[in-house]
């Protein structure tokens, strides 16, 4: 690693700090400062005044706001989100249990998204203003106009419940458990423990949720790829390549795509939020025990600390991913000189 690159990484990492601070403050404002009493929201109408007071005291909400704020920040810095109000375990422990499911879903969805999106986007760009281009564009608009959970419901109804080909909920069939939880990603655990049945079962459960989330995001990704590719294909080096007798296919899929790749990765990193938001809805639809499911369930269980901790965790995650994407960008683009 060149000293320039190292400096770039350090500077970029330092720049993440204000972002984290802003996001954490934002969460604080939403959960503690905004109108709407969390005690009342969580305990619901009908709770006695004592119950509400006890709730507030348990969370330190009876103290002045600025003290709460610094407490809040210091908790985040120590990666201490408090204890779950449903079970006597730290929130971080809960997150550790639920997070791998989301990661696994995200990975498989991204495979669907990139596979469908890159190909169709590049193909549309290659055939700009022809029938196939318009067809792909309309299709991608339809795809990202689909409510994710509804696409999930339709797949569940047809392929899942109707034809009975694939399971419609959960990560594993009843009775199936991983021999040993190593990574928490069941597919990988199954490979590590050489458990073929588990692998097949986990994959079967993954198919519908990943297609659901992947397809909706593919609508977005297709447009992104197409727009980026159009920019690239307009550039002189493509014309120059054509003048050297290169095949259109080579120009588009080799030269074009390689140049489009970097902006696509960057923009995709920015849209990481889209993936997480989609995951929340997909998890709800498919009873997928991930982070989204955790938040939604705990809102009903009135587990304020876990809800708060999970949202904070998302904030850190978002900041972390944007940092990683930027660093990756530094490695990918040969033009970057530090």
């Amino acid at each position: 690693m060149s000293p320039g690159l190292r400096r770039y990484i350090i500077v970029r990492t330092l720049l993440t700090i204000p972002m984290v601070l802003i996001l954490v403050s934002l969460v604080f404002i939403v959960l503690r400062v905004m109108p709407g009493d969390p005690a009342l929201a969580i305990m619901r109408e009908g709770a006695s005044e004592e119950q509400l007071a006890a709730f507030r005291a348990a969370l330190g909400m009876d103290r002045p706001l600025h003290i709460q704020y610094f407490d809040f920040i210091s908790g985040v810095l120590r990666f201490d989100f408090g204890e779950s109000m449903v079970r006597p375990i730290p929130v971080t422990q809960e997150i550790k249990t639920f997070f791998p499911a989301t990661v696994e879903l995200a990975i498989f969805s991204m495979m669907v998204t990139t596979g469908v999106g890159i190909f169709s986007g590049a193909y549309a760009a290659k055939n700009r203003k022809r029938g196939s281009d318009y067809a792909i564009r309309v299709l991608s608009i339809i795809l990202y106009s689909l409510p994710i959970f509804w696409l999930g419901l339709m797949l569940q109804m047809t392929i899942g419940a109707g034809l009975g080909w694939l399971p419609v909920s959960g990560r594993l069939s009843p009775g199936m458990t991983p021999d040993r939880v190593i990574t928490g990603l069941y597919t990988i655990d199954a490979i590590l423990t050489l458990n073929l049945d588990l692998l097949v079962d986990a994959l079967k459960h993954l198919i519908l949720p990943s297609i659901t989330l992947g397809l909706v995001l593919a609508g977005f990704f297709t447009r992104l790829t197409r727009a980026t590719m159009l920019d690239v294909l307009e550039q002189d080096f493509i014309t120059a390549g054509r003048a050297r007798g290169l095949h259109e296919r080579v120009l588009v899929y080799k030269h074009g795509l390689r140049n489009a790749f970097i902006p696509i990765v960057t923009l995709l990193g920015l849209q990481f939020a889209l993936l997480l938001a989609g995951a929340i809805l997909t998890e709800t639809t498919f009873s997928w025990p991930g982070m989204g499911r955790l938040v939604v369930d705990r809102i009903y269980d009135r587990d304020f600390t876990t809800v708060q901790g999970t949202i904070l965790f998302f904030a850190l995650l978002v900041a972390g991913v944007s940092l990683i994407v930027d660093i990756l960008y530094g490695f990918l683009d040969p033009r970057i000189r530090y």
Binding site: F237, R242, H247, V250, R258, N259, P334, R335
Partner: protein, 336 residues
Amino acid sequence: MSINEILYNIQDLSVEFHTRVGILGAVDHASLDIRRGEVLGLVGESGCGKSTLGKALMRMIEEPGKITSGKLLFDNIDILALDDSRMRELRGSRISMVFQDPMTSLNPVQRVVDHITEAIQVHQSYVTDKEARARAANLVDRLGISHDRLDDYPHHLSGGMRQRVMIGLALALRADLVIADEATTSLDVIVEAQFLDLLRELRNEFDLTILLITHNMGIVAELADRVAVMYAGRLVELAEVNQLFSNPKHPYTEGLLRAVPNIQLDEGELYKMAGSPPDLVRPPSGCRFHPRCPKVMEICSQVDPIFKSIAPNRMVNCWLYQEVPDEKLWVGGSTQ
């Protein structure tokens, strides 16, 4: 091989762009011969259609443009009748092109050497990677680039070096015809001079035919054997370079030459041609230059002149040099 052998025969070429506001005739019935071994300059203001003509020679007109008439015979091959794959084979191997901006004409994420080996292997798939690399190294050596730069990315090279690479790419397969489209415009003066020297050397060494598309009369004077002048999509004059400079016939050529700054003569103020280039969607009637022409006559706005030979190796498209037909024949409309 005689100098008079015709390498590229362009007959009655028209290129039109179908735009939202109408049909834009970028090249209008142009006929021209490119002889083997010569450097033919093609000059004109920007927007006159010279680049479009160059691209048409490689059949690289992009949407919404279209070649609407004419015949293109390259070495007796009918270019317009070739299927796409045969056309691709021709591009780069027999006809090459060097573009204006070397900064953007190379793939920024591809190494220099890969550009060259790719170009070689696309046309000669039997060449091994190692062989292709060796040929690439020879080539850049010849172009005055040290071959340890082969593994560099384009952004590591200076503008002049990149343009040398572009030339190298054009010569990698010993193309018969190199179309240099404003190839020196973006280079600074000293680099440009070096580049022109290189081009001259290469021309002798490889026995190249070059179509030199430029708006710079100085470059034409330095390198070209013959010059074709283009105005508003039409060829207006064709002459040997000395004759053109010493005795321009077409009023537009005259204006063009007077507009070139000349240090030695120091004529005081630079000549500036009146008016501006016409809208090619609605070009002027008759001779397209007539609204700006200092020697305009009545017929000029009515009837198109013909691109006609007035002397050996000399063609002009102007009523000054051809017999004006009887007024009865043209009053009230064009004969064409």
